[in-house]
């Protein structure tokens, strides 16, 4: 089997009386798309936040490649090749689409204690950013402030930013959230092409997308993993059907 890029062991996060994550084990291998599904409040976002380093687990360890990153914060993990998109669109609303991506490029182009040269005309930032926008079909919208982009475009922009950091591992929290059918399809096609570059950990409610993209699926409810397996195994799993998929959705 291929190399394990990201591994969480027994991570647990408690919010007051709620066990948002309860001893979750999950791993992501090179070249793989691993989907995490589960009902609202199952702890999927909390899981991603811990993998991304935004919050620290109460218990458990997280490895990125060989390295134990449990104690590292989000920027350090990003520097090690971890990319992330958020469930609630998180872009720089006042910056243009191009500036959004250029800033992501900048994050991985050495330190930013550079006080003199204009960032806006810095070819080392602008050119890769343009190329990335082009790839996501946003080239024509480069000069538009992110706040004025449509919802679908903002989701794409967020992905462009994550990709601009050249992540080996990409954590995606509901990239299709709030998208219409055609936008979702476009996003699904895009994610398919991404698989070659990054391993994807995909949280998604859109089951068509999940079954189209995932090599493996993990199902969570109430903070726990109740099943992990191939799409076919998950479809056939009775516990999963009872807990989540329901008969018509799994058809």
């Amino acid at each position: 089997m291929s190399e394990i890029l990201l591994r969480a062991e027994g991570i647990t996060k408690r919010y007051g009386g709620i066990l948002a994550c309860d001893g979750v084990n999950i791993e992501l291998r090179a070249g793989e798309t691993h989907a995490v599904i589960g009902p609202n409040g199952a702890g999927k976002t909390t899981l991603l936040a811990q993998l991304g380093g935004e919050i620290t687990p109460d218990v458990g360890r997280i490895h990125l490649g060989e390295r134990d990153v449990t104690g590292l914060r989000a920027p350090e993990r990003a520097a090690l090749g971890l990319g992330r998109s958020f469930q609630i669109t998180s872009v720089f609303r006042e910056f243009t689409a191009l500036q959004n991506v250029a800033l992501a490029v900048q994050a991985h182009d050495g330190h930013s204690f550079r006080f003199w040269r204009k960032a806006r005309t810095d070819a080392a930032l602008v050119e890769p950013a343009r190329a990335m926008l082009d790839r996501l079909g946003l080239a024509g919208r480069a000069a538009v402030p992110a706040a004025l982009l449509s919802h679908g475009e903002q989701r794409q922009l967020e992905l462009a930013m994550a990709l601009a950091t050249k992540p080996r591992v990409l954590l995606l929290d509901e990239p299709m959230a709030g998208m219409g059918a055609s936008d979702s399809e476009r996003m699904t096609r895009l994610l398919t092409t991404l698989k070659r570059e990054s391993a994807l950990l995909l949280v998604e409610h859109d089951m068509d997308a999940v079954f189209a993209l995932a090599d493996r699926i993990t199902v969570m409810t109430y903070g726990r993993v109740i099943a992990t397996g191939t799409p076919a195994e998950i479809r056939a799993n009775q516990t999963v059907r009872d807990a989540y998929l329901g008969t018509d959705e799994a058809a």
């Binding site: 920027p75 990003a78 998180s90 204690f113 960032a119």
Partner: protein, 313 residues
Amino acid sequence: MERVATFFVLVALAAVPVLTAIFDAPFYLDLFGRVMIYAIAALSLNLVMGYGGMVSFGHAAFLGLGGYAVGILAKEGIDSGFVQWPLAVGSCALFAFLTGLVVLRTSGAYFIMITLAFAQMLFFLFTSLAEYGGDDGLTIWTRSEFSGLIDLNDGASFYYLVFVLLLLCLGISARLVDSRFGMVLRGAKANERRMRAIGFPTFRYKLAAYTISGAMCGLAGALLANQAEFVGPSVLHWSRSGEILVMVVLGGMGGVAGPVLGAAAYLLLSYFLADLTKHWAIIMGPLLILVVLYARGGLLGLLGGRRAKADSP
């Protein structure tokens, strides 16, 4: 539009010594000198507040510390500006760096309160320093000496030195906010979580900005002490921090030059209003509220330029 307005303001400021000589009104030389010194202080605050989203309610600390550095050295017989000014700026940078380590761990209302608390600490420290004037403050008997290069006792020379330093600070600010460093600062203001997720350790950049800001404000403090030939705890009073803040808001945070307009508008207005009535604050207060409510971009915004935010870098 911002550029045009800034240009005219700067030309007008450059002409002040000529006019005050013609009309024999040295008082105005002082007034406009003070405008420029506060403009430097407001510029420094705008760097962290307008671009970095760090609302400091303690910038008077740097004004005071820079001033006291000059005052204390002068009292100890060290008059050289080559010693005084670097020490003033350096001690403010150090103070900003050290307090920044603490204040930058907070945000929002906590940030405001903690910056205020540090400034108050200095206020009480200098109030209790009896050797250096305590409550009464410290008279500076000789302005900084620059080995004959420039004579600060000459009103026009001093004025033009301040003018050149203001240009320098404006230039530095303008470059800074458009640089990679500046983009990190703006990004952290707009969406810090996003910044961290794409790999920016934002804390160190904010700390650097806070330190630069403190240093710049320290320079303003050294200038102010020289101009007044006096430094006292009143420079460190929280109301002074508030005034600098008001200048920034009044001028508008959308561009680099806003604070210059703000400092000019605030000081000139309060001067002329004070001439009209001693209850000038009653007019000033509502005026500020109007600006905040109806001209969110401050004076810069009124000039038809940009919105209140650093949105078109």
